[in-house]
Amino acid sequence: MKTGLKLGIKQRTYTQQKAMWGFLYVLPWLLGFIFFFLIPFISSLRYSFSKITANAQGMIIEWIGFNNYVEALTINTSFNRTLTESIINMVVNVPLIVVFSLFLAVLLNQKFFGRSLARAVFFLPVILASGVILSLESTSLIQAVNEQNAGSSGVINAFSSFELQRLMLEAGVSETIVLYLTGAVDRIYEIVSLSGVQILIFLAGIQTISPQLYEASKMEGATGYEAFWKITFPMVSPLILVNVVYTIIDSFSRNALTDLIRETGFTKFNFGLSSAMAWIYFLCIAIILIISTSIISRKVFYHE
């Protein structure tokens, strides 16, 4: 310590040391952020304000102001409709998916016969609903034909959900809630296949809760229901935030709008318009995310 003082190196305080290490830990990410994100991001912003023509010499970028944005919002026939549709879809799906996946994660964390098999099955959507598999799945001819054949027996399916609806309406539940829930039952495959990642994140979160908490609460006489609301729920609440954010982004990353953006950019080679669309779309997601995270993060519990 004395040699340090002699050499003129200041003894750092605990917080300063921590701050320095923090910066070192974040540094690799920061480099990647600047080179592989920020620079391309800014050039895409520049593209969105320009008309781009590619020729043998390279790209010619010409400043045209807000013309691309005006074209996307007023001239392009499908952009507005696709945008509102995907936002409505998201608002409907996100709460359902998050609640459903938390419920399933709690269920899969309990001890029962065949648990590891069940977990393996619920992991499958993570594989099936990603990347190339998803896009191939939607074009599978055999699947389509089989679904058509199954349509005749599908009458029974529709009937059961119809019965449920009638039952709940007669019990005096509000009509919007009933329609929302029965709609969810009818779209169960969509919901399940979209919630694979969320189930795993919640499951991992539940695993890190120390068993002593549950033991103590059991000795104090808490029921399983109380243990869920007083222990599990607050302890996984940081991950509820993760999952809401992930679900919102995920629901945006695979909809008709991204297809439209990609098609405009790479099939019609209108990079400027495509960048402008991507920017409008990005701003919409940003607004939705800021609203929802600010609501949720007030309720989140951290060990700090």
Binding site: G32, I39, Y47, F112, P238
Partner: protein, 315 residues
């Protein structure tokens, strides 16, 4: 007497709950498995069974012909090796860099760290299509702030090599890396602060605390992240088609499978081939592409199942 009655009521409740649980899990598992079962039944069918009206699930003539076709056309073993090495490499590098960044953001606060974390959120938010074209240009003439031309005289072309994947995953900016940083951060924030402070008081430095105390506590997070990263890299066709144009990896081979098959069957005329048969081989290809992932998951998932020993930590 009263006590035993009460016990039996509890018992009833338990039985009822496990019954309901089984119904729920079986029903949902069926919903998930249905398309897979359909693929398996299609894959083991013979071509002649495709149009047979009596065959729905169980084929009349079993055949492994589809699998042989897929192995042959996709160059399966070589593709498997390529994809595996690519995914494993990016996964390990991504997990390391994201864990570091996540811990830095969660516990080692410095001036401006919140602002930088907003940057992480930005990377999650921005759809990859937005930055694809500038990114492509950047990698085609890679200069690293003008340093490489100083040494070799000209920028290097990183496309069609594994370098874009190595560089982006080393710097935590690969496919969905922002999400992994976010997951790690939330997990580290969930670890009680007392644990960390106890380690400091016992004389452990920041690096040692991270390696010895925080990482073992975050094993579920590490497994989650590696699993996602591996699976997504495996299935990714967005980056692989942009960066790797000629290397054989699973996703590109899979999407060009029907076309290649048609070429092989009819000598180049893709429009002549029977689309139903092509779809059948495609389904077999999907099965074979996801099979290694399922096998890996079965090995890894017991780390999820065994609850983490956290003895000595008062929660």
């Amino acid at each position: 007497m009263i006590r035993s009655k009460w016990l039996s009521f509890e018992n009833w409740k338990k039985w009822l709950w496990s019954f309901v649980r089984y119904i729920l899990i079986l029903g949902l598992a069926f919903v998930i498995l249905y398309p897979i079962l359909q693929k398996i039944s299609t894959a083991i069918k013979d071509k002649s069974d495709l149009y047979s009206p009596i065959v729905v699930w169980i084929p009349q003539n079993y055949s492994l012909n589809n699998f042989l076709q897929v192995i042959n056309i996709m160059d399966y073993w070589e593709t498997l090796l390529n994809t595996f090495s690519l995914s494993a490499m990016t996964t390990i590098l991504t997990a390391i860099s994201c864990a570091l960044a996540g811990y830095g953001f969660a516990r080692l606060k410095f001036r401006g760290s919140n602002l930088l974390f907003a940057g992480v959120m930005l990377t999650i938010l921005v759809p990859p299509t937005t930055i694809l074209i500038p990114m492509y240009m950047n990698l085609k003439d890679f200069t690293l702030l003008g340093l490489i031309p100083l040494i070799t005289g000209k920028p290097v072309n990183l496309l069609n090599s594994y370098w874009p994947f190595i560089l982006t995953s080393l710097t935590a900016s690969s496919l969905k890396a922002g999400l992994y940083i976010f997951i790690f951060r939330q997990f580290f924030r969930g670890v009680p602060k007392e644990v960390e402070e106890a380690a400091y008081i016992d004389g452990a430095g920041i690096g040692k605390t991270f390696m010895g105390i925080m990482l073992p506590n975050a094993i579920p997070a590490i497994i989650t992240v590696t699993l996602f990263s591996f699976v997504w890299q495996w299935n990714d066709s967005f980056y692989t088609t942009t960066y790797l144009t000629s290397s054989k990896v699973m996703s590109t081979q899979l999407s060009s499978l029907p076309y290649n098959l048609a070429v092989q069957l009819d000598g180049g005329d893709a429009s002549q081939a029977d689309p139903f048969y092509l779809s059948m081989v495609q389904d077999t290809g999907i099965l074979m592409a996801i099979l290694p992932l399922i096998i890996i998951y079965l090995f890894v998932q017991r780390y999820f199942v065994e609850s983490i020993e956290r003895t000595g930590i008062v929660g």
